[in-house]
Every structure is written in structure tokens, then in C-alpha cells.
């Protein structure tokens, strides 16, 4: 490995370095403020280094990591999202926990794991990144030890994630057994040379289980609502955004590199998964009264939408999914950010009743939340609209009408539950009853449960996210171009879908 190669790893070095620094810092002097600022410094340094290493790209680091513009884009997304989570966590933790500082180490390592995944080009780095991310998440999810749901969620995640890792390893082993290599590029070569056999396909199918688990696609979504609800709100934001971005970045690269679009059975598998996710997510979201659970189910549906474009294949699919992911990250961070800043000491602001008449009490927060929900519903002037437009156009371009029409039906269904939250927020104050029976069974007045005021940091993050949301929604041209340029390293490798497969896919 050359010095330039080492240099291109700088963002990862910085992340891991700062994790160690934080650890030492806590051992020497335990202070929440200090730790928080060091965390932010770490993220900033790592993000800044992205600009410096761009000159020496693309670069293959040994066989296990590939650092190109595509990886850089995902790193940027992940690091920015993590810093937003860090800021949101600061105030949240201040009220909640005695031992706040270790949380930031975990946040740092989880980010490192996600970054590693999105630049992996080998099963080893795939698995390594996944485990770094997962192990950090186990602890983060159950970080509020005095809250029963939090611990339960952590445990649930631990068991299921471990099981899914087992599937992943078995799948990798099967692929290795039939192709004799663990490098993505060489797997592709071997597949082209020798064709695909049942062993490889079942290996891929098993890997899909692990991927589906991490991305919360149906039918591997069972953990999602419980974990989203139980985890502390900022951690939920992290699970919804960073961990999914890392996994998706990896899977997209893997699938494009092995040219998985050649295999009809895999495409049908993803079609089924995508359709199932859309319906499961949206139908179950209709029945929830808990905002966190609604958002959890909605995220399942959104990943289903994402895979509609993923199926389309080719250059447009890579751009569309990446753009949608950006929009999705902004929106998810925004929605969970709102839940975070409204959450009080006793419990999170998760009951839909907590939001009753919010617009008349906190007009700004409610407006931001409305914008975020509109974006999730895909309504113009927001990033979600352009994202959905991009997805649908990628799919229509490949003439995938069945998934597209199901996407449209689901969009219509989803509008109902997003509107439900909005309606509650805009209920006139004269209808708002002072005391509300909450799901936890305590009769609590609306006021005290919620935060009395919005923290500076939280407000800042929300303001930035809202601006980004509207900016991307109104002037998407630059961002589309930027994403096009950044993913070109991958999309040049993407081949258009094979004709035979297109016909199979109800073309």
C-alpha cells in the first residue's frame, strides 16, 4: 500500500482515532460538554478530509476497500447525518442519563462501521463493517438503562441482528464455495466465466436476508417498530438513516459489480420484497397511534419504494436510489429530530396525542414537522417529491409498470396516516382537552411531558434540515448533477438490464 493509499483512508483513520481519543478523554476527565465538542470536532475533521482525499481517488486499498467518488458521497452523507444525530443527542442525553459520555464513542464507531460498509469491495470488509455498526448499535439502542422498552429493544435487536449475521456468513460461505473468491470484482468474473449455479444463488439469497434485515424490508422487518419505539429518539434517527445508508451503499455496489441484474430469480426476489415492504409498511402504519411506530412502518414502506428504482437497473437506478436516499435521510433526521426535541424527561413524545394542537403552541416546530411529513408523502416543494419523481422515472424508464403502479397505490394509502399526524397538529386549540389519557396509562397533561423549550442545537439542526428539504425540493438541479458526477464511477460499471429479464418482470 502506498502513502497515497494510506492518505485516502484518512477519514476512516480520523473516525477511529477520535473514538480512541474520546475513550482516553473520558478516562481522564468525564465531562459531557467536552466529549460532545470533541465528537463534533471528530466528525468535522473527518468530513473536511473528504475534500482533501478526493485528489487521489479512485483507489483500491488492498483487495478489501475501494475508495472512489461513490464511496466518498456515501461517507459524506453518513458523517453529516451522524453529526446531526450527535447534536440532537446532546440535549436529549443531558436530561436522561448519568453516564452520557460513552454514547459518543459508540456513535463514532457506528459511523465508522457504516463508512466501512459503503466502501467495501470484499466480504471481509463487508462483514467487518456490519459488525462494527451492529455491535455499537446494540448498546446505543439500550442506552437508557432505566427504561424498560429501551432495554427490550436492544435485546431484540441483538438477537435478530446476530441471527441475520449468521445467515450472512453462511451465504458468503456458499458463494465462496462455488466461486472460490470473496472479492466482489472476482466473484463477478467467476460468474461471467462459469455461469451461476444453485449454490451461488442460495448464497445470494441468504445474504439478502441479512441485507433485508438491516434495511428493514418486509418480511425481515419485524424488529423495526419495537426498536424504533424503544430506542432513544436520536438513536432511532441513527438507525433509520446512517445504518440504512451504509448497508444500501454496499448492497448497491455489490449488486452492480456482480451484475446481479442478469439473474431473473434475484430480480423477482427483490420485486416481491419491494412490493411486500410497501404494503406491509403502509397498511400497518394505518393502524398505529404511536408516532414513532408510524414512522417506523413508513420507513419500511420507503425502503420498498427505494427498491422499485433499484430493480430498474442501469445508470438511472443508481442515481435515483442515491438521490432518494439523500432525501430520505434529510426527512427522517427531521422527523425523528422533532420527536427528539419535543421529548421530555419521563418519556419520548411518541403518542399521537402529544402532538394535539401543536401548531398553535409551537408554530415553528409544527411547520417543520408538517414539511417533513409532506416530504415523506411526496408532495411538491419538498425533497421527497423530487425523490419520488426520480424513483418513478427510473422505473418507468425500464417499463416496470407493476411495481410502479403499486408504488402509486401505496403513496395514496400513505397520505392518510401522514395527514392524520398533520390533522392532529392543526386541531384548533378550543378542541384540545387539557388532560389526555396516554398509552402508558398515566393521566398526564400535555404540557409537562414535552420539553418546555427547544434547545439551541436541536433548533439549529432542524432549521438546516428544513432548508435543505426545501432547497432540494425547489432547486434540485445542482444536487442531481452532483450525484450524477459522484456515482459515475459506479454507474459506468452498470450494465442495462438484460432483455430476457425485463420481459420476465412484467414489462
Amino acid at each position: 500500500m502506498t502513502t497515497e493509499g494510506l492518505f485516502s483512508l484518512l477519514p476512516l483513520f480520523l473516525l477511529s482515532g477520535f473514538a480512541v481519543i474520546l475513550m482516553l478523554l473520558i478516562a481522564i476527565y468525564r465531562d459531557h460538554n467536552l466529549t460532545f465538542w470533541f465528537t463534533l470536532a471528530g466528525f468535522t475533521a473527518s468530513f473536511a478530509s473528504l475534500f482533501f482525499i478526493q485528489a487521489v481517488l479512485p483507489r483500491q486499498i488492498v483487495p478489501i476497500l475501494i475508495i472512489d467518488n461513490y464511496a466518498l458521497l456515501y461517507w459524506g452523507m453518513i458523517i453529516l447525518a451522524s453529526s446531526a444525530v450527535a447534536v440532537l443527542s446532546y440535549n436529549y442525553l443531558k436530561e436522561h442519563e448519568e453516564q452520557k459520555e460513552e454514547y459518543y464513542i459508540l456513535l463514532m464507531t457506528a459511523t465508522l462501521g457504516a463508512c466501512t460498509m459503503s466502501s467495501a469491495s470484499h466480504f471481509i470488509s463487508f462483514f467487518l463493517g456490519l459488525e462494527i455498526l451492529s455491535v455499537s448499535l446494540y448498546t446505543m439502542i439500550s442506552y437508557l438503562r432505566d427504561r424498560l422498552e429501551s432495554v427490550e429493544a436492544g435485546l431484540k435487536y441483538l438477537v435478530l441482528a446476530a441471527a441475520s449475521s449468521a445467515f450472512l456468513l453462511f451465504g458468503m460461505a456458499l458463494v465462496y464455495a462455488s466461486t472460490g473468491t470473496m472479492e466482489f470484482a472476482r466473484i463477478s468474473e467467476s460468474l461471467s466465466a462459469n455461469g451461476v449455479n444453485a449454490l451461488t444463488l442460495s448464497g445470494f439469497a441468504m445474504m439478502v436476508i441479512a441485507v433485508g434485515f438491516k434495511l428493514a424490508l418486509a418480511p425481515f422487518h419485524m424488529w423495526t417498530p419495537d426498536v424504533y419505539q424503544g430506542a432513544p429518539a436520536p438513536v432511532t434517527a441513527f438507525v433509520a438513516t446512517v445504518s440504512k445508508a451504509g448497508m444500501f451503499g454496499l448492497w448497491l455496489r455489490f449488486f452492480v459489480m456482480i451484475n446481479g441484474y442478469r439473474y431473473g430469480s434475484l430480480l423477482i426476489l427483490f420485486t416481491v420484497i419491494s412490493i411486500a415492504s410497501m404494503f406491509t409498511g403502509n397498511f400497518l402504519a394505518l393502524m398505529q397511534n404511536n408516532v414513532k411506530r408510524i414512522l417506523a412502518y413508513s420507513s419500511i414502506a420507503h425502503l420498498g419504494y427505494l427498491f422499485v428504482a433499484f430493480l430498474a437497473g442501469g445508470k438511472l437506478a443508481i442515481e435515483a436510489t442515491t438521490f432518494y436516499l439523500v432525501a430520505y435521510i434529510i426527512t427522517s433526521l427531521g422527523t425523528f429530530g422533532i420527536v427528539t426535541v419535543l421529548s421530555g424527561k419521563m418519556r419520548d413524545a411518541e403518542d399521537i396525542e402529544d402532538y394535539r394542537g401543536l401548531y398553535w403552541r409551537r408554530p415553528l416546530v409544527a411547520t417543520v414537522f408538517t414539511a417533513m411529513l409532506m416530504s415523506l408523502a411526496g408532495i411538491p416543494l419538498t425533497a421527497g417529491f423530487i425523490g419520488k419523481f426520480y424513483l418513478v422515472s427510473a422505473a418507468v424508464n425500464s417499463w416496470l409498470w407493476l411495481p410502479v403502479i403499486i408504488l402509486v397505490i401505496n403513496s395514496a394509502i400513505s397520505v392518510y396516516y401522514y395527514l392524520r399526524i398533520i390533522v392532529v397538529m392543526y386541531r384548533r386549540i378550543d378542541e384540545v382537552t387539557p388532560a389526555v389519557e396516554t398509552t402508558t396509562g398515566t393521566l398526564a397533561t400535555v404540557g409537562p411531558v414535552m420539553q418546555p423549550s427547544i434547545s439551541l442545537g436541536g433548533g439549529l439542526v432542524l432549521a438546516v434540515l428544513t432548508l435543505a428539504l426545501i432547497w432540494v425540493g425547489v432547486f434540485p438541479g445542482n444536487i442531481i448533477q452532483f450525484i450524477k458526477d459522484m456515482v459515475s464511477s459506479l454507474s459506468s460499471a452498470a450494465m442495462p438490464m438484460h432483455t430476457a429479464q425485463k420481459i420476465m418482470l412484467f414489462r
Partner: protein
């Protein structure tokens, strides 16, 4: 540029109104009024300027790149990578509808003056946004931009119903939103389908209306793509199987909301049919026309019968919209100039007359706090001014000569008769029925014996200004319809010409294109650019054939046309086959 400023002034006004509500509860009203008035005057002066010159020559055909139609045009790049531009333009049709929008806009600010006491700033914010969205819909010439505005006008309307509506408002607002949103998504799919179809055929990926016109497609593809548009538009219109949302939304909305819904939002559906469905899918539209006319006839009768059966005053007026919009559907798909001009008149007159009726309902409700017509009766003695105003618009609604609606319905029926006499004959029954419900309004509410002793004030000065200006306009439309018909004539003619032009060439073009579905020419190698080039060649060949054929036809005698047709046809078939083998 003026179109851009019309939208920007409204949007700026909306934000100012919202902000100003922090300091004063009166300021938002004035800011909103001033913003809409400025817009109205600007648009009016623009119209006068246009009218003093000549209108564009009639007899245009909508073909790609024809710019002669537009009075004013504005084209900025928006998302270049997708061929999306911020492209606004106005011809006679859009100008009339923009004028209607701003006129009704001014009135709806005025009628909300005292009715809305709750969160005034946010109310006017939403009101102005709706107006901005509607103007966008009427002037957008880029299909993506059109869809964008189509959705933009939805959300504030949803808030208007959901926050300031009456008792059952949440239900109504949900229903309204889900109906229109999901049908809009179908339209969006069609837009995308058209976008890619055109892109693949020509290599130019664009959402621009003027370029997408004349995209060749196989008949079944055209049918499906048109279905998406048509569903979105007839849900908005609404035509009968999709009218379900309308009575709820109209009844529960605050007065200004009902007025805007009836007078403006329903027109976006009609506008869409004329502007997009007919020119983009002329052949499919012709196939669909008989069915659409029957739907229109059903709407006319069904709406009138249901209106007659209502006891809720506002719901009654709401159902009259179903009745009147039936005429619009009937006229649009009659596909001739007379009927389409009638549709334009109907759009304007229905906007004025139904808007006025909603204002009267609102004014009455504000005084006696009920909409149940069983409790009213004999109100004329107490409120003669309101009664006489209601009389004017009830008569307009039943189509009394001298008022605008008469001209509109007459033109529609006369035009539709040429297309389908049976459907038209049945529709005429609707006129009798509309007389019944209109007179029932007068008989039950204002005449007869008073059933309760109400103490109420007559219309005040502000309300009289509103009603007076509406009366003047409806009289003007009834007495001098040419002032309006002349403006829209060129655009309507171009639409009719486009539809007819395709009917002569289409028969053969379609048979040719049927052999050319997109996949069959694909070969094993996946080189897209090669395929595209091939397709382009095919396309050019076909177009040339059609052209030469048309030339030949005009040169030859009509008698000699048949043999040439078959000969050409066989030739062209050979060509296509050769093309596939290439």
C-alpha cells in the same frame, strides 16, 4: 414575465400576511386584499393591452415548436438533467381563466373579512397560496411544472377545509385530499410515460408541452396514458363516478373555500382536458369521446336530481356543480369549436354564478347559523337585497337568456348535437331539472311563508359590492359573450384543428406504428444508442411517408383517393418490415 410576477406577488403577499398576524389581526386582510388587487389590475391591464392589438390568427394547429399561440411566454431552465423547465405561457384560454381566478380571488378575500376570526394570518396565507397554485396550473406549459402546481394548490386547500371548515371538516378534508392526490399521481405516471416514450422515440427528453405534442404512439399505449390524465381531470371536474368528494368538501369548507373550490378548482379539471388531453392524445380522445359524452349526460341529470333532493342549502349548491360540470364534459368531448367555446363560457359563468350562490349561502349562514332550508322560508321580506341577488343567480343557474350561463349551455348543446344527437337530447332534460332546483331554492328559502321568526340584517355595503360586481359580470357575459369568445377562439381552434388533423393522418400512422412496439426491434446486444438511432430512423421514415401521403392526397381528386391509399399502405408496410429486419 407578467405571469411570473402574478405568482410571485401572491406568494410574497401570503408570507407577509402570515407574518403580520403576529402584530395585528387586521393587517393580514389588507395585505391579502392589496396583493390580489395588484395582481388583478396587472392581469386586467395585460388583457387590455392584448385586446388593443390583434389576437393571434385563428386556424393555428398545435405542432411542436409553434409559438404563435402565446400572448406571453417565459421559459427558464429548472432541472436541466431531466429536461424540466420553468415554462409559463398564456394564450386566450389561460388568460380568461387567470382573470377569473383573480376576480374570484379578490371577492374571496372580501367575503372572508368578517367570517374568519380564527388565526387570520394563516388563513390568508393559505388563501393566497391556493390562488398562486391555480394561476400556476392555468399557465404552466411544462408538464412537470403543471403537476407541481397541481399539487401545490392542494395542500393549502386541505388546510382551509380542515381548519376553518364546519362540523364534519376533518372527514371532508381527508376525502378531498386523498381523492385528488391519488388521481394526480396517476396523471403523474402518465406524464412520465409520455416523457420516456417521446424521449426514446426522438432522443430528446423533455417535459415541454409544445414538444410532446404530436408524439406518436400505438393506440393502446395512448389509451393508457390518456387514462391517467383523464382520471385526474374528471376527479377534479368532477364527473359522476368520481364526484363523491365534492359535496362533502364544498359543504364543510368555509365560504371562501367553497367559492374557490367551485369557481376555480373545478375549472382546473376542465382546463386540463382541453389543454392536455385533447392535443396530446387526439386519437385516443376521439375513441373515448362517446363514452365521455355519456358520462357528461349522466352527470347533468344525476347532479340536478340530487341537487333537487337536498335539504342542506350548501349541499344543494354543491350538487349543482355536478350538474353544470356535466355540460363541460359533454362539450369537451364533442370535439368541435362551438361546443368547446361553450365550455369556456360555461367555465366562466359557472365560476361566477355558483360562486355567488355560495356567497349567499355563507352570508345567510353567518346570520341564522343554519343551512337547513326546511327552517328558512319567506326571507325576502326581511332581506330583500339578498333575496334579489339570490334571484339573479338562481336564474343564471337555470340558464335564463341574457345571463352568461344561457350562452354557455346553448353553445355546448348546439355543438354536442353535431357530435352525438341522442346524448345531447338526453342532456337537455337536465335543463328542465336545473330549472326545478333553482326555483326550489327561491321558493323554499326566500318566498313562501316564514317558518321561523328570524331577526337578521340585510347585505351590508361590502357584501353588496361583492354581489354587485358578480351581477355585472354575469350580465356582461350574457349580453356580450363575444368579448370573451373572441379571446379564446384562437386557442380553441388550434385544439380542434389538432384533433382533426390527426384524424386524417392517424388511421395510417397508427397501423404503421402498431408494428413497432418498443421491444420487438431489440437485439441481443444492449447498445441503447444504436437502438435509439434505429427507432429514430423508423420514426423519420414513417413521418415522411405520412407527409408525402398527405401531399398526394391533396393533389389527387377525392375519387382517386382510395386506390392510392391502399397502394401507399402496402408500400409502407414493406418499408416497416424491412426496417425490422435491419
Amino acid at each position: 414575465m407578467i405571469l411570473f410576477w402574478l405568482i410571485v406577488i401572491l406568494m410574497a403577499g401570503s408570507f407577509l400576511a402570515w407574518l403580520s398576524s403576529r402584530w395585528s389581526s387586521v393587517a393580514p386582510k389588507w395585505i391579502a386584499l392589496v396583493a390580489v388587487l395588484i395582481d388583478f389590475l396587472a392581469a386586467a391591464s395585460f388583457w387590455i393591452k392584448i385586446a388593443s392589438f390583434n389576437y393571434p390568427a385563428a386556424g393555428n394547429t398545435l405542432i411542436a415548436g409553434n409559438k404563435g399561440l402565446w400572448f406571453t411566454e417565459l421559459n427558464w431552465m429548472w432541472i436541466p438533467s431531466f429536461g424540466i423547465s420553468f415554462h409559463l405561457a398564456s394564450d386566450g384560454l389561460s388568460l380568461l381563466l387567470v382573470m377569473l381566478t383573480l376576480f374570484i380571488g379578490v371577492l374571496s378575500v372580501l367575503i372572508s373579512w368578517n367570517e374568519i376570526q380564527y388565526k387570520v394570518g394563516f388563513f390568508y396565507f393559505n388563501l393566497l397560496w391556493i390562488l398562486a397554485g391555480i394561476i400556476g396550473v392555468f399557465t404552466a406549459i411544462d408538464l412537470f411544472l403543471f403537476y407541481f402546481f397541481w399539487e401545490v394548490m392542494l395542500i393549502p386547500m386541505y388546510f382551509l377545509i380542515g381548519i376553518w371548515g364546519s362540523k364534519n371538516r376533518i372527514y371532508a378534508s381527508f376525502k378531498f385530499f386523498i381523492f385528488t392526490q391519488s388521481s394526480g399521481l396517476l396523471m403523474f405516471l402518465s406524464i412520465l410515460g409520455l416523457f420516456f416514450l417521446h424521449g426514446k422515440a426522438t432522443g430528446v427528453y423533455t417535459f415541454d408541452y409544445m414538444q410532446l405534442i404530436g408524439t406518436k404512439m400505438a393506440p393502446n399505449v395512448a389509451m393508457w396514458l390518456m387514462a391517467g390524465f383523464v382520471i385526474a381531470f374528471i376527479v377534479k371536474l368532477p364527473a359522476v363516478p368520481f364526484h363523491n368528494w365534492l359535496p362533502d368538501a364544498h359543504t364543510e369548507a368555509p365560504t371562501a373555500g367553497s367559492v374557490i373550490l367551485a369557481a376555480l378548482m373545478l375549472k382546473t379539471g376542465a382546463y386540463g382536458l382541453i389543454r392536455f388531453v385533447l392535443p396530446l392524445f387526439p386519437d385516443a380522445a376521439r375513441t373515448f369521446a362517446p363514452a365521455a359524452m355519456i358520462l357528461g349526460a349522466i352527470g347533468i341529470i344525476y347532479g340536478a336530481v340530487l341537487a333537487f333532493a337536498q335539504t342542506d342549502f350548501k349541499r344543494l349548491v354543491a350538487y349543482t356543480s355536478v350538474n353544470h360540470m356535466g355540460f363541460v364534459l359533454l362539450g369537451v368531448f364533442a370535439l368541435n369549436e362551438m361546443a368547446l367555446q361553450g365550455v369556456v363560457m360555461q367555465m366562466l359563468c359557472h365560476g361566477i354564478s355558483t360562486g355567488a350562490l355560495f356567497i349567499i349561502v355563507g352570508a345567510l349562514y353567518g346570520r341564522i347559523h343554519t343551512r337547513d332550508i326546511e327552517q328558512m322560508g319567506g326571507l325576502w321580506d326581511k332581506v330583500p337585497r339578498m333575496g334579489s341577488m339570490a334571484m339573479v343567480f338562481a336564474l343564471a343557474s337555470l340558464g335564463l337568456p341574457g345571463l352568461g350561463n344561457f350562452i354557455a349551455e346553448f353553445l355546448v348543446l348546439a355543438g354536442a348535437y353535431q357530435a352525438s344527437n341522442w346524448t345531447t337530447a338526453i342532456s337537455t332534460i337536465g335543463l328542465v331539472l336545473s330549472t326545478m332546483y333553482s326555483l326550489r331554492i327561491m321558493a323554499k328559502v326566500f318566498l313562501g311563508k316564514p317558518r321561523k321568526t328570524w331577526t337578521l340584517e340585510d347585505l351590508n355595503l361590502r357584501e353588496m359590492i361583492v354581489m354587485g360586481s358578480l351581477t355585472i359580470v354575469i350580465l356582461w357575459l350574457g349580453l356580450f359573450p363575444n368579448h370573451v369568445l373572441y379571446v379564446s377562439r384562437a386557442s380553441i381552434q388550434s385544439v380542434v384543428n389538432t384533433v382533426n388533423a390527426s384524424s386524417t393522418a392517424a388511421g395510417q400512422a397508427n397501423t404503421l406504428l402498431q408494428d413497432l412496439p418498443l421491444d420487438k426491434t431489440e437485439k441481443k446486444n444492449d447498445d441503447i444508442s444504436l437502438k435509439q438511432k434505429d427507432r429514430q430512423k423508423e420514426q423519420i421514415k414513417i413521418e415522411e411517408q405520412i407527409k408525402t401521403e398527405e401531399q398526394l392526397r391533396t393533389e389527387q381528386q377525392i375519387k382517386a383517393e382510395e386506390p392510392i391509399k391502399t397502394e401507399e399502405y402496402m408500400k409502407s408496410e414493406e418499408h416497416t418490415k424491412g426496417g425490422i429486419r435491419q
